[in-house]
């Protein structure tokens, strides 16, 4: 049983999810929902990177975009007042939907996982070795500049949100 068609199917699902969730970020009114749709778009984009064979970039995508940037945006949402807050229980009482989704995901995953056979060994490292060779070879100077940029952003963010008034301390 081969899965040659699976790449196209996965691409179609991911493309629809990316465009749909991206449109939902723009169209949906509730800002927390928009942030979560944005996180979903980033997650599907990581799947796109996996389809392209860029595993390291997909890992960075999950770590930085889905992890860090989404959390920062959610902090921004929480620190600024928004309109209505009547959607706090959005993720509760969803057990039937959870069962349906898990069944929908688990059956293809089990079929796919049971179809593996011992093939030829893959070259070690995937795309990590060429990526690191370029990053620390030809692009070592921009890499250092990027670290300086991160330091400047860190200091700038601290200075921007620092309170000047004495009675807070």
């Amino acid at each position: 049983m081969t899965f040659d068609f699976l790449e196209m199917v996965l691409f179609a699902i991911l493309a629809i999810a990316i465009v749909g969730a991206g449109a939902a970020v723009v169209l949906v009114g509730r800002i927390t929902s928009a942030a979560l749709f944005m996180a979903f778009t980033f997650l599907c984009m990581a799947g796109m990177f996996l389809l392209l064979g860029a595993e390291t970039i997909a890992a960075f995508q999950v770590l930085i975009y889905v992890g860090a940037i989404t959390v920062l945006i959610l902090y921004g949402v929480m620190f600024t007042p928004q309109g209505s807050r009547d959607y706090g229980l959005f993720f509760q009482k969803q057990t039937p939907w959870a069962i349906v989704f898990v069944a929908f995901l688990a059956v293809p995953v089990m079929v796919f996982a049971s179809s593996f056979q011992d093939g030829r060994p893959l070259p070690r490292g995937g795309d990590l070795v060429p990526l690191a060779t370029s990053l620390f070879g030809d692009f070592a100077y921009p890499f250092e500049v990027a670290s300086v940029l991160l330091l400047a952003a860190l200091v700038g963010a601290i200075v921007l949100v620092k309170r000047d008034d004495e009675e807070i301390r």
């Binding site: 790449e7 984009m45 860029a54 970039i57 945006i73 600024t80 990526l131 370029s134 952003a153």
Partner: protein, 105 residues
């Protein structure tokens, strides 16, 4: 071996997401949502970079290196952008960008 998904399909998704983000930046008024849409546009550019890098420059991954730099710039941008939004909100309690007329405190 010809890849199953053509390069143009990835570029089409990238362009669609870029224009969705662009429409969001132009139409939404909440500053935090505008930041989200900017992140969507950056991510769309990342997809195009990775797609071209994997399909044309398979030996040394130069396009993916630029994706790493885009990650760095996006992280710095969202940190400073949220700091600006919070600082501006503290001075004057508005989040909508067309109500905030001045950045001066």
């Amino acid at each position: 071996m010809t890849p199953a998904v053509p390069l143009g399909a990835f570029i089409a998704v990238s362009a669609a997401l870029f224009f969705i983000g662009c429409a969001g930046v132009l139409t939404r008024r909440n500053a935090v949502v505008i930041l989200m849409c900017v992140e969507l546009m950056l991510n769309a550019a990342n997809l195009a970079l990775v797609a071209f890098s994997r399909r044309y420059g398979a030996t040394d991954e130069r396009g993916s290196v630029f994706v790493v730099f885009v990650f760095v710039v996006a992280a710095a941008e969202v940190a400073v952008g949220l700091a600006i939004v919070l600082s501006a909100y503290r001075t004057r309690p508005v989040v909508n960008v067309d109500e905030a007329r001045a950045m001066k405190g």
